[in-house]
């Protein structure tokens, strides 16, 4: 047995040595934590958010373009914030703004007396510096500032933008990414490196308390005492992000009262949550819709009649019913809450209509058999429901649909293939705007593009391109004109060209503790909870 003892001892030493090399005597927890054993004074004012994925990929407010938005929006602020009820941008760091009649010059008046978490004042010069750095870095969603030609800080509170072409800059400034105003002088060396070590230089109500990548509680934010909004009244003083990939586990934590808010549950658990005493739920249509893009350039769907037939074959009502609240009927290409939404356009399944169109093209029951290929996101159960219903409906029409679930990169690569024979007939994907402007769908998905990026219907229509190019100017200076242009474009793209079908708009289904008061989902900022606006209850 001596050998066993030696082996065990050697193993124990090896393990300790190996892991010691990984650790190094760091303190896990908050920097200004009380001494061990003391009690937590404001434990009841901690808002515990449960995301399904890791929170932070990139801390740099210039290039951040991922899940960290759920924390960044509580740490950083933009000039404006979008309100989906009014469909307008509202004051945030800017208290008011004006634009010239041609929409090419915008003047923002900044809120006085705002300081960054670094202690430095947030004035027009600082705002100019931060937007200019974001544009210079040029990563993530920095392209949103593409219209900006020049920024001037006229005085401490006046920021003037001169644009290359008219754009609704108040909407751009409300974006969830790349619109943050931050202190560019926060670090003496490499600012991006400093940010990604877990520092922040924002002006929002909360600041980073601790960040432990890979830990269950990945991130904790604490209140910023110098916040311009003040801390009178009831507010959460801390936010904790507890990463929980398993939905059942997230639900059990909420049920037990260990967490405040669960970002996502499946439909079964969501239904259970709705009937649980200490839990409340919210269901809000998002700005993300599912698109079935038809190949207008090659293959059988080059024939517009066949595209229209597939549009009519989709069981829109059945799909929404099967999603059990995870989706809502779409009406046009633009989701409700955005300028350009066209009510009363919800599509319906029309199998006789589809059959007639197929017959006109020589297909359908009794005609030639038609084979179609479709690609969709692997592992997405909602898309699987669509595929199942569509396969079944088309089968009755003598159309065989071959559906391939693929990882996004593979699906996208295949869709972009230069060899048109390798492309699919139907491409299923979600789309959402980077800021609250419907222009995103039209310029990215339906404007002619070479090489192909997201125009995966391969539509090339000069008339539609010209109309799309007019949208930013109309949105900036003529809202009614923009509404009309969006309606016309949707009629052409969905109706005449039949380049796309919109099966549904995704719903956000949240479950949260009864003690959380004042929660409103804002689809312009996906999954974000603006915790400062909430009141902790009993």
């Amino acid at each position: 047995m001596r050998w066993h003892k030696r082996l065990l001892a050697a193993g124990a030493v090896a393990v300790v040595a190996l892991t010691s090399a990984c650790g190094g005597g760091k303190v896990r927890g908050t920097e200004d934590s009380p001494q061990p054993g003391t009690s937590q004074s404001a434990a009841d004012a901690t808002f515990v958010y449960v995301p399904n994925l890791d929170v932070v990929t990139d801390w740099d407010p210039a290039s951040s373009y991922s899940n960290e938005i759920i924390a960044m929006e509580n740490v950083y602020e933009s000039l404006t914030r979008y309100n989906p009820q009014t469909k307008k941008a509202e004051p945030r760091l800017a208290t008011s703004w004006t634009s010239t009649p041609d929409g090419k010059q915008w003047t923002f008046t900044l809120r006085p007396g705002v300081t960054f978490h670094t202690g430095k004042p947030l004035d027009a010069a600082a705002a100019k510096a931060s937007i200019e750095r974001t544009m210079k870095v040029g990563q993530g969603a920095a392209y949103i500032w593409g219209a900006v030609d020049k920024i001037e800080a006229k005085d401490a509170t006046t920021l003037v933008f001169t644009l290359k072409y008219p754009t609704a800059l108040d909407l751009v400034a409300s974006a969830g990414y790349a619109s943050y105003i931050y202190d560019t002088t926060a670090a003496t060396g490499d600012l991006a490196k400093w940010f990604n070590e877990g520092h922040d230089a924002g002006s929002g109500p909360y600041t980073i308390d601790s960040w432990q990548k890979g830990q269950e509680t990945e991130l904790t934010l604490k209140k910023f005492d110098g916040y311009w909004g003040g801390w009178s009244g009831a507010h959460y003083s801390k936010i904790s992000y507890r990463v929980t990939p398993e939905l059942t586990t997230a639900w059990q934590l909420l049920q037990r009262g260990e967490v405040s808010f669960v970002q996502r549950l499946n439909s079964q658990l969501f239904a259970q949550a709705a009937g649980t005493a200490n839990v409340q739920t919210s269901q809000t249509p998002s700005f993300q819709n599912l698109l079935a893009l038809f190949n207008t350039e090659s293959g059988p769907l080059k024939d517009v009649k066949l595209r229209q037939a597939v549009q009519k074959a989709i069981d829109y009502d059945g799909l929404v019913a099967a999603l059990k609240g995870a989706g809502v009927q779409a009406s046009g290409l633009v989701p409700d809450g955005l300028l350009g939404f066209t009510p009363g356009q919800a599509p319906k399944q029309d199998l006789p209509g589809a059959e007639a169109l197929l017959k006109e093209a020589g297909y359908g029951p009794g005609g030639k058999p038609l084979d179609l290929t479709l690609t969709y996101a692997q592992g997405d159960s909602d898309q699987e429901v669509l595929v199942t219903l569509l396969t079944s409906a088309l089968d009755k029409l003598n159309v065989k649909l071959t559906a391939k679930p693929l990882q996004w990169t593979t699906q996208w690569d295949q869709g972009k293939s230069k060899d048109t024979s390798k492309r699919q007939d139907i491409f299923i994907m979600y789309w959402y705007p980077d800021y609250a402007d419907a222009y995103s769908w039209f310029v990215n998905v339906f404007r002619s593009a070479d090489p192909i990026s997201f125009n995966l219907s391969y539509m090339k229509n000069d008339g539609i391109d010209k109309e799309i190019d007019k949208l930013p100017e109309l949105t900036a200076i003529d809202k009614a004109g923009a509404e009309a242009a969006y309606a016309d474009l949707q009629s052409k793209i969905i109706g005449q060209e039949a380049a796309v079908a919109v099966p549904y708009v995704q719903n956000y289904q949240r479950a949260f503790s009864k003690s959380v008061q004042g929660y409103v989902d804002n689809p312009a900022y996906p999954n974000v909870v603006f915790v400062y606006d909430l009141k902790p209850g009993a």
Binding site: M1, T217, T409
Partner: protein, 338 residues
Amino acid sequence: MLRYLTRRLGQAVLVVAGVVILTFVIMRLVPGDPAVAYAGPRASPAELAAARARFGLDDSLPVQLWSYVRDLLGGDWGTSLHTRRPVRDDLFQAFPASLELVGAALVVAIVVGIPLGIAAARYKGKLPDLSIRISSMLAVSVPVFWLALALQTLFASGLGWFPVAGEYDANLDTTSPLHVYTNITAVDALFTGNWPILLSTLAHLVLPALVIAAYPAGVIAQMTRAALIEESSRDHARLERALGFGETAVLTRFALRPALNPVLSLIALVFAYSIVNGFLVEAVFNWPGLGRYAADSIRSLDTPSIAGVTLLVAILYVVANLAVDLVQGVIDPRVRSR
């Protein structure tokens, strides 16, 4: 012995080299562009080009393989596409948590498995033996994911006896911050006298450790039983019985020591297996170990991270096998000559 040791080490290095090459080939065979996974689904062509240049994806495959091997030898396991941190740093953070969980599970498995094996051997063919064999068969065959959900629902969510998920109560980071030396929370808490975190970690360990312990406990019980029955039928056991020792004494005082040799070998192999077997358990109990890291990596098609996890697990298997071979070589000189 030196020749044997050199030969086995050489074989282990060859196996690891094979895994490295295989891992690289699989990484490149996986459909999809790693640059897209890194730069994001809406990356511009310029951002994609920059990502390709950064990871050398435009180089020929042999050049990429050489760079990969050279970097590995230099301690660079690549950069994770989803955490954007060095894979080695990520693994060094995640692995100790898995080690803590699997270590606790193995302690449970040994403490439960060996006595059960002894009891089964002692009452061979009788009711205790039958029930232990059925229980160990169940423990080995029940899916860990199901067992994890069942225990969590019953003992954590239902009865409230144990925490639902996590490694320890996160509030303790504020009230009792932990000084981290080994990254194994229970060990650090013990050595630094951080009793609140130690107690919380132990409470959080119970359910996931029990789930992971099920398989090794079953296997150990079965192996202990079989080895004891074989050992107790040898000549020395007959002599011990003739000298008046009872059956329990024959088993525990004389047969157990030699019977534990194969059990020890088994434990080393089961350790590496349990690390992987624990991946699903970590997902259910939200344990911040290799399993969660691997799941996140697979979800985001993060090939460098997937390769890192694969390589680490392969190294664990090789080291465990090597340790077993060496121990057997020392214990039984005949092994060295094979």
